[in-house]
């Protein structure tokens, strides 16, 4: 898919909880096909501290309304400005960027997300179901207050939940959930996106069970389209760009995973 710079218009700012919002935005023309795992680079206006664009995963696309959905967690000055965007505001995007998750036509899939890493798992869950695969979600959060709204996910499969303080679902990390501790061997493939430590723990569990695992990395990048070479990840065949050769990698290809 040809990459482009395009001005979107925000159509809705849906507050999920104290930290998360979902931004709905549409381009003037028709949205191209978006594959699960692809991301956008958002230009954040104002302020010397938000000089570079911010890479954000595509949460979902709605073909009927021609909208793209972006899940945004307020973590710093850049995301704070994005969280404040209102319907009618403009959003300068470079997209679609990166590669995408494998979408097989059958099999039992486990989609493990932590924190804001749950974002691409919604579009992935939908695409897997459309193709005919079975979808199981395992979503982790620090506590109940910042757990993602599960409504949209529910339509594609059952959801296991963990919170670090036990205020919702199983207490602990995603790796403490029976889905990963006991039922992993029933799965054909694991997908994961979230904090580095969580993804490494999921990858270790998948490796132990001999199950294919794809991770979506969040390395810092300056451009998003392969020019700056800042976001490299060490693979068994040398450094690769997270932005163009990822963000999705099979853990078998990564060095040290």
């Amino acid at each position: 898919m040809k990459k482009r710079v395009e001005l979107f218009t925000v159509t809705r700012n849906r507050r999920i909880n104290n930290e998360y919002i979902v931004l709905y935005a549409k381009p003037d023309g028709k949205l191209p096909d978006i594959a699960p795992g692809e991301f956008v680079e958002i230009k954040v206006e104002n302020g010397p501290n938000t000089f570079l664009r911010r890479p954000i995963s595509i949460h979902e696309v709605n073909k009927d309304s021609n909208e793209m959905l972006l899940l945004i967690q307020e973590v710093g000055e850049g995301t704070r400005l994005m969280v404040d965007l209102q319907p009618g505001d403009k959003l300068d995007l470079i997209y679609p960027l990166g590669n995408s998750f494998t979408v097989p036509k059958r099999g039992k899939m486990l989609l493990v997300g932590g924190g804001v890493g749950v974002a691409p798992l919604l579009i992935l869950g939908r695409r897997l179901r459309e193709e005919g695969a079975e979808v199981n979600f395992l979503l982790g959060a620090r506590n109940r207050e910042i757990l993602m709204d599960l409504t949209d996910y529910k339509q594609y499969g059952p959801i296991g939940v963990t919170t670090e303080d036990g205020s919702a679902g199983v207490k602990g990390f995603v790796t403490d959930h029976p889905l990963l501790k006991e039922r992993l061997k029933d799965m054909d493939r694991v997908y994961t996106c979230g904090p580095d430590a969580m993804m490494r723990a999921v990858a270790t569990a998948a490796k132990g069970a001999g199950i294919a695992c794809e991770v979506s990395l969040e390395n810092m990048m300056a451009c998003g389209f392969g020019a700056c070479l800042c976001c490299v990840v060490e693979t068994k065949s040398g450094n690769k760009n997270t932005c163009t050769e990822g963000p999705v990698f099979n853990i078998e290809d990564l060095k040290g995973w």
């Binding site: 482009r4 710079v5 010397p48």
Partner: protein, 287 residues
């Protein structure tokens, strides 16, 4: 032109712009041998700029000649190769391998990369070394020899005069300024190499000053760069003495910026009734 290390080999920008609309491109820093570059993290955002420590990751000059050059030689623009090395011999051998490429009118000798442990900037901050590497490459390289200077020196004019005397056809400046950033909460550096090269609009005043100083010190053309984000910035560099300009970090934020800058320069010329863009070179008015 677009600046080395910010524009890949041009291909990365093909979706966004017509590469042939540009005056020239300087492709990613190339060395004699393959280099993996520095470990991650290689980038940190700073106020109005960024630090990088890529460390000249590239597949080596032979790979460029055999695999990349055939893919990009159709661009109707001046393709310059940025050449770096750890020893004079490496610079010379790399330049020799680029001699016979019909669509490469020149090379940009990078004696100012702050991100490699050996060589690189050490040639560019020591005048006798800068002269030695420039003249050694001049002896073997037949095309246009542009030498890229480091701002990390006490007197940039001394370096400029040195490389001019050693046979440089033009001078490009400035490369990145050596800088660093720390995460106070974690008490750790933000770059794997601790220090890295600072670029972006925060370095523009330093770059303009150095272009102006070099303009008053040498006769060969200057290619100015350092934080150019728009056409006004580009014109300022020309008024300070640049014959051409390079756009670097701005490409990351707007991959179409280089063509917008060309349009902006034309618009400025119309608004000021200027017919020859060369009349802007060193055209700053001083009372």
């Amino acid at each position: 032109m677009t600046a080395s290390g910010t524009f890949g080999f041009g291909e990365e920008y093909e979706d966004f712009i017509d590469i042939s609309a540009l005056g020239g491109i300087v492709v990613k820093g190339t060395t004699l041998h393959h280099r993996e570059g520095n470990p991650y993290p290689r980038m940190a955002e700073t106020a109005s700029g960024m630090l990088n420590a890529v460390g000249l990751q590239n597949k080596g000059v032979d790979y460029f000649v055999e695999n990349i050059y055939p893919r990009i030689k159709h661009y109707d623009t001046g393709i310059f190769v940025n050449v770096s090395g750890s020893t004079i011999e490496e610079y010379v051998q790399t330049a020799e391998k680029l001699n016979d490429l019909e669509k490469i009118p020149g090379i940009e000798l990078n004696i100012s990369c702050p991100n490699v442990k050996e060589g690189g900037m050490s040639f560019g901050v020591h005048c006798p070394s800068a002269i030695a590497v420039t003249s050694a490459v001049r002896d073997v390289y037949k095309g246009h020899l542009m030498v890229k200077l480091s701002p990390n020196v006490t007197d940039v004019t001394e370096m400029a005069r040195g490389v001019e005397g050693a046979g440089a056809d033009s001078i490009s400046l400035i490369n990145t300024l050596l800088g660093m950033a720390i995460n106070a909460e974690k008490r750790r550096p933000l770059l794997s190499t601790i220090t890295g090269g600072l670029s972006g609009p925060c370095i523009k005043p330093v770059a303009l000053r150095m272009v102006w100083q070099v303009y008053n010190a040498v006769k060969i053309p200057i290619i100015g760069m350092g934080g150019i984000m728009n056409a006004t910035d580009a014109i300022e560099f020309m008024l300070a003495g640049s014959t051409a300009i390079q756009v670097g970090t701005a490409n990351f934020i707007d991959p179409t910026i280089s063509v917008k800058i060309i349009e902006g320069i034309k618009e400025y010329m119309q608004r000021h009734n200027i017919t020859d863009v060369n009349s802007l070179i060193g055209g700053m008015l001083i009372d």
